[in-house]
Structures are given as structure tokens and as C-alpha cells.
């Protein structure tokens, strides 16, 4: 009993120390990269800190960016528990955003392309219901988008990574097509856009802050996802199937259904991120919706090792990096791609750190049982 306890303690320490160590190494590599570009790494670190976490005002900007990240991260994190690597986050976000704007406009004005008179009169539907409708629309649209990827994976064995990434491009093309024609606001001449949602039906800010309610959405959905995966039979079935698909089939688990359902949930989270962005930040759909939150979300899921609760914390960290990108551009004249380089470095180092689990001496259980390699146990006596 005592031994079991030390083992779990060491496991937990390992699971916390390795990602943090990896982040530090990535930070160091990034410093070297900055030095190569002729920037003082310490100045860069300092600026990232002060413009992302330095005071409450800038930290609000970080939290604003963390909100959609938490939701898009789940789009990768949930299917990963089933052993699927889905990276269609950006596409599901865009589809969700489009669906949210369409439902929002219909519930506000009675039409996606309201006439001048319709624009004068916002329908008398309570804003909370309109927002609920928008959220529902985005959840269904994003969910179906990724559920299709899951279904293709299960029924046609189409590689889910490639298909979901292709779906990103299709989603963006679809959005460009819609805002360029069917749902275009003819009054907007600079950038093809949809009509703007009325202020009353948009997501408000939390009292005394500039943080919108989307942050609460993100945290709540992450907590729900955590309980769903860790503390329900559904989550247990999904994790079993992810661990060993053959065993799951023999045990009679409906693997196909699980795959499609998990993918639907994953897509609905990213879709909701699209609704949050549309209803709280942009108020309409146009190219600005494609801001890379989907791709950063993939990274969040990896760093958090697919744990939804950890996703919230990692989202805040990476949200800070995104938030500081503007200051890096202004104060140190570093290109906006700096944040992308940093994310790439973090990603590579985190992946390398995966190979360290169980290899570092400090985290090894000193007991004799640890010395037996797991492969030996597979030989079953005849």
C-alpha cells in the first residue's frame, strides 16, 4: 500500500515537472533565437511578462485571448483520449462562428440579410434566448463538422489528421463564399462581412472588466469535459477504447458511436469558441475570425497532455504570448510571426519531453517492481 502511494506521488511529480521543464527549455531556446536576431533575450522576456501578466489591465487582455483557446483546445484534447489526432479546430471555430451569426441575425432581425426597416427594429426576443440560440447553432454546426471527420475515420478509415486539416481550408472557403454573397452586408465596402449583430444581443463583459462572458464559457466547458472524461462511464468507455481498441471491441463497446460522439463534442467546443469570438469580439463574421486560435488550441491540448483542467491554465499562458505579440511588434520591432516561432519551439520541445517519461532517474520508483519491463508480462503461459 505504501509503495503504491509513493509511485503515484512520483508519477504526479513527473507529470508536472516534465511539462514545466519543457516550457523552460523552450523559453531558453527562444531566447537564443532572439539573440540571433539581434534582440536582447532578457528584454524580450521582460516585455512578454509586462505586456501579458504585468498588471490587471494587461492580464485582462491575456484572459480575453485565453477564452477561445480553452474551447478550441478541447477539440484536440477530447478525441486524443480516444487515440484520434484531430486538428480541425480552426475550421470548426469558423463554422461555429458563421452558424452563430446566422442564428443571431435571424433571431434579432428576422433575416440574415435584413432590409433597412428590419434593421430599425430589433425583435422582442430576450437577449439571453438569442445568445442561447447562437450558442446552440454554433455547437451543432461545429459538432457536425468534426463528427463528420470522426465518421469518416471510423467507417472509411480516412486519416483524421489530414481530413480535419483539409476541412479547415474548406470551412474558410465556405465562410469567404458566404460573406462575399449570400450573407453579405452591402454597406460594408472595405472587408466583405456579414451584417452586425445588435449590441443588445451580444455577449456582455463581466462587471468592471473588459473580459467578456466567453471566459466563463471556456472554464465551465473545460470543467464539464474533465468530469465527462474522468468520472463518467462514457468517459471511461472512451478512454478504454483509446487505450486498446481491440480490447474495447471485445468488451462490446460501441467504438463507432463513441468515436462520432466524442468528435461531435470536440467540434461543438471549437464551434462555441467561434460563437464567443463573434458574439463578444467581432459582432460579425469576416476574415478576422481566422486568427489562428484553432492552431494555438492544438498546442494547448498537447502541452496540457489532453487534460481539460490543465487546458485552462495552459490557455492563459499561451494567451499571454499572443497578447504580448503586439507589444513585441511595437517596442522591439519584431514581426508578428514571433509568437508563431515561439509556439513552434514549445511544441517541438514538449513532444521531445514525451520521450522522457519513465526515463528520468529521479522519478523512477526505487522498488524492485519497476525494474520489470512491461513487455515481459505479455508472454502468457500456454
Amino acid at each position: 500500500m505504501m509503495m503504491l502511494k509513493t509511485t503515484t506521488w512520483r508519477k504526479t511529480a513527473e507529470a508536472i515537472a516534465i511539462p514545466i521543464g519543457a516550457l523552460l527549455v523552450a523559453l531558453m531556446l527562444f531566447g537564443i533565437f532572439c539573440a540571433f536576431c539581434g534582440k536582447n533575450p532578457l528584454a524580450v522576456y521582460g516585455l512578454i511578462y509586462s505586456s501579458a501578466f504585468g498588471n490587471w489591465r494587461v492580464f485582462q487582455g491575456t484572459l480575453l485571448r485565453a477564452a477561445p483557446l480553452m474551447l478550441t483546445a478541447l477539440c484536440t484534447a477530447l478525441p486524443a483520449r480516444l487515440g484520434l489526432m484531430i486538428i480541425g479546430n480552426e475550421g470548426a471555430l469558423v463554422v461555429g462562428g458563421v452558424a452563430a451569426v446566422i442564428t443571431g441575425l435571424v433571431l434579432s432581425y428576422g433575416s440574415v440579410t435584413p432590409s433597412a426597416e428590419q434593421l430599425q427594429q430589433v425583435l422582442a426576443i430576450p437577449p439571453i434566448l438569442v445568445q442561447l440560440g447562437m450558442a446552440l447553432g454554433s455547437i451543432v454546426a461545429g459538432g457536425l463538422w468534426i463528427a463528420a471527420v470522426g465518421a469518416l475515420r471510423h467507417y472509411r478509415a480516412v486519416n483524421e489528421t489530414i481530413s480535419s486539416l483539409l476541412m479547415n481550408y474548406i470551412a474558410i472557403a465556405l465562410m469567404n463564399h458566404l460573406v462575399g454573397g449570400p450573407i453579405k452586408d452591402p454597406g460594408e465596402t472595405i472587408k466583405a462581412s456579414s451584417f452586425v449583430l445588435p449590441d443588445i444581443n451580444r455577449l456582455a463583459n463581466l462587471p468592471t472588466t473588459r473580459i467578456h462572458y466567453g471566459l466563463l464559457y471556456g472554464i465551465i466547458v473545460c470543467v464539464i469535459a474533465y468530469f465527462l472524461i474522468q468520472h463518467t462511464t462514457f468517459g471511461f468507455a472512451a478512454r478504454t477504447a483509446g487505450g486498446n481498441i481491440k480490447a474495447a471491441r471485445i468488451a462490446g463497446l460501441p467504438v463507432g458511436k463513441l468515436t462520432v460522439m466524442i468528435c461531435f463534442l470536440a467540434g461543438s467546443c471549437a464551434g462555441l469558441a467561434g460563437m464567443v469570438e463573434v458574439a463578444a469580439v467581432h459582432g460579425r463574421v469576416n476574415e478576422s475570425l481566422v486568427a489562428g486560435y484553432g492552431y494555438t488550441g492544438i498546442l494547448v491540448a498537447f502541452v496540457a497532455r489532453y487534460n481539460p483542467i490543465a487546458c485552462t491554465i495552459v490557455s492563459i499562458l499561451l494567451g499571454g504570448i499572443l497578447a504580448s505579440s503586439g507589444a513585441l511588434q511595437r517596442n522591439l520591432t519584431m514581426p508578428d510571426a514571433t509568437a508563431l516561432v515561439f509556439q513552434g519551439l514549445v511544441f517541438l520541445v514538449i513532444l521531445y519531453s514525451d520521450s522522457l517519461y519513465g526515463r528520468l532517474q529521479i522519478f523512477k520508483d526505487p522498488g524492485p517492481k519497476a525494474a520489470v519491463p512491461p513487455a515481459a508480462s505479455t508472454t502468457i503461459p500456454a
Partner: protein, 319 residues
Amino acid sequence: MATEAIGWLGVPLGILAGTLRGSAPFLFVSLGECLTEKSGKINLGLEGTLLMGAMSAYAISYLGVSQWNMSPAISPWIGVLVAGLAGMGMGLIHAWLSQQPRVNDIAVGIAMIIFGSGLAFFLGKPFIQPQAPQLPSFELGKLLSSSPIVQSALQISPLFILGVLLAPAMNWFFKSTRPGLFIRAVGDSPDAALAMGVSVKKVRMLCIIAGSFLAGIGGAYLSLVYPGSWTERISSGQGLMAVALVIFARWNPIQCLWASLFFGGAQAIGPALQAVGIDKGYYLFNAAPYVLTLLIMILTCSPKKTLSGAPGALGSING
């Protein structure tokens, strides 16, 4: 508009021209990926490699003339070479990382897409404005027609010809040479390769690096031939489509060639229709290659059996 002069004929001509111009990046990346996958590893990061190649080729071509007093006839070729080297650098990272224990090569690919595009956008920022000398083309149209439209449509880049020749060469390499046999052995059955005395790690390392070299060249084509400038949207998923295309081509270099031509043509449908005045659904037509890739994957994949021609160890972690 000049295209009005030939009217609706402009559509097939536009698609033909687009096929000749636009299929080379697909060809180089898919051949590179074919080589990589034959050794049993997947490199999804070729999208990032393509961008790095495009950026470094353009930068070198521009700097060669403006800074290092090179002739504009030579500097783009140096650019092509550097693009290949940049690709090799990216390949080295991928090869090393994806062969670590318990590291999934697909995940490494995603990371390399982010890292490669980030690095390319970062280093390429100063080169978005200036005009770099381009690679020359063979004016095939001049022999066939006096119409300037036909002439401008039928330009063939030497890089494209190189790619077309490379496909049968690679096929021969796999089928009839010892190193080709080793690569197939490593990809199909690493244990058997090990028994033959072949170092699985080394072969995979070399294949990934060589494949990334080709993808880098594909990137150079993007920035120095067609579309012929450096922007952050230059590849728009072409590297990724090429990866899917290898599945469609059943890991056969010759079929990679046909598939690349097909994709180049599909990509040209939207612009060709726009040129004759149909711009309704322009964005949807531009999505044609992605939809096509998806459809092809749906049609060619099957849950019942592994695909014919697929390397045996493909996709298995540390297989």
C-alpha cells in the same frame, strides 16, 4: 480584357496552363513524401518545409542581386539550392525528433507546420515587398501560336521538367537499386531490414532529409516561378494536400506525377472561370482541391484492408 478575344476557349486553356504551372509544387512535395513514407515514417510537416523553401529561395534570389552583386540569371538558381538546404534542415529536426521513443511522427508533423511557417514568416517579413529575380521558363507557346494569350499560358519551367523526370527516376530507384531495396525493406518490415544488416534509423533519417530537400525545392518553385512572389499565403495547404496525394497515388512515384497534374488542374478551375467573367462561387471553386483531396481519400481508403502498396510499418510508432 485579352481573354475575351478567345472567349470560352479560355477556360480549358486556363486549366491547361494552370496544370503546367501549378502542379510542380505538388509533384516535388509528393515525391519527397513518397520517399519518406516508403521508409515507414510520415512527414506531415512538409507544409512548413514548403514555406521555408519558398521564403529562403526568394530571399536568396533577391539578396544575391541587390547585396552580393550576382547576375540575375544565377541568383534564383542559388535560391533553389538554398531552399533545398533549408528543407534539409527542417527534415533533420523532424527525423531526429520523430525517431525518439514514444514520439508520434504525426504530432511532430503538426509541430513542424507551426514552427516552419512561423520561422518562414518571421525571417521572410523583409522580403514581402521587394521583387526578386525569377527563374526563366521555356516559351513553349512561341512555337505553337502567335497569340500572346496562348504564349503566356504555355510557359514551362525547367524545374517542372526536372520534377517530371524525377518521378520515373525515383520509381527505378525503388525497384532496381540496392539502396531502393533497403528503403522498401525498412518501410515494410524493419525487423527484416535489421536482419539484413541495415540501420533502420539511418535509412529513415536519410529518407526524411532527402524528402524534405525535395519539398524545399517545391517551395522555391512557388516563390520563384508561380505564383512568383513571397507572401504568407503562398502555400495555402499545398504541402498538406501533397501528403494526401501520396495515399491517392498508392506510394508509386509515377502515379504521384499523374496525381500532381490532376491537382494542378483542379487548382486552376477557379481562376480560369474568373478570367472569363464567372466569379460567382469563386471561393468555392478555389476550395476544389481540398474537397477533391477529401473525396479521393474517402473513395480510396477502406476500413476492411490496408491499402495496396502501403509500406507495412507506416504509422506504427517506432515500428
